[in-house]
């Protein structure tokens, strides 16, 4: 890991920490209030705030996790160079696509 990747990974961790807490609080709120899927969708559809919140979350997770996976690929499987970069980048891209698809499903009208 070099300085750029280190800063990216630590920086995204710092972004994720409060977002994770808020995400858990949202889950508790939704379950305690007994919100139905319809209730939740009524709040999230067309909401720029929720789209931004989870958009940042998904982006931070994709960057953070792919750098972590890159380290694991090097240390556990001995991958180096382009092979490691490609697999790690692909993993990050997959997380990003899955996350953005999930966000689109709940925020797009």
């Amino acid at each position: 890991m070099n300085a750029r990747l280190y800063i990216l990974q630590r920086g995204t961790a710092a972004i994720m920490a409060p977002l994770v807490l808020l995400h858990i609080a949202v889950i508790f709120y939704a379950t305690h209030k007994g919100l139905t899927a319809g209730d939740i969708l009524a709040r999230t559809r067309g909401s720029v705030a929720w789209a931004t919140f989870y958009g940042v979350f998904v982006l931070a997770i994709s960057i953070h996790a792919s750098i972590g996976v890159r380290t694991i690929l090097g240390e556990w499987l001995g991958l180096r160079g382009r092979a490691r970069a490609t697999v790690a980048f692909g993993f990050g891209l997959l997380l990003l696509m899955l996350g953005l698809r999930a966000i689109a499903a709940v925020v797009l009208p």
């Binding site: 070099n2 300085a3 800063i7 240390e75």
Partner: protein
Amino acid sequence: MWRGGSDGRYVDYDVPQRDSQTVLDVVTFVQRNIDATLSYRFACRVGMCGSCAMTVNGRPRWTCRTHVSKVAKGGKLKIGPLANMPVIKDLAADMREFFQKWQNAKGVFAPSKTRKDPIAPIKPDDPARIAANAGIECINCGVCYAACDTVRWNKDYLGPAALNRAWTLVNDERDAGQGARLAAVSAEGGCMSCHTHESCHELCPNSLNPTASIAGLKRRAMKAYVRGGE
């Protein structure tokens, strides 16, 4: 006791137990009384030179400063060469890569003045001097390198000793090689690869804390990167 090269095996020897006996005494007894072909490395026998480090019951230690009574389990010792280094023969490990990484980490003083210049005044209570002081007693024994999980997993990793040395020089205001040194320790396999397991800190026979030195390097390298100075 490990015998042979990397394809060797552990061989049992019976050695009489004595008072205040060190692990190095045990190894020496075997060589002088049982098998003269046993290869191992030692010099000072008093914890000054750092050449007698071996793996004793799974942990890297200075054998000259390790009493048998403290580490023997049921009267048995398992003694091998240092881990994370190729085996030359028996208990002697090949330390060339270990020392090469000191060079790669720019762990060499780069003078900024000549002998004609006055001696640089450095106060003992200067924060940089205190930081350098904390890591400067390293004697290159390789115990931290053999103990490090990251070295085992990542052959590119410079290791705790080389990075600790780099940190002492980063805090040496007389040194002129800081840019190249920070670039070397910030690159792939540098200080950012440390997982902070602290095995180096736990096992350093000189009670140094290379993990703290590496944390210092991470901070310094991050600042340099943010300022565009990597």
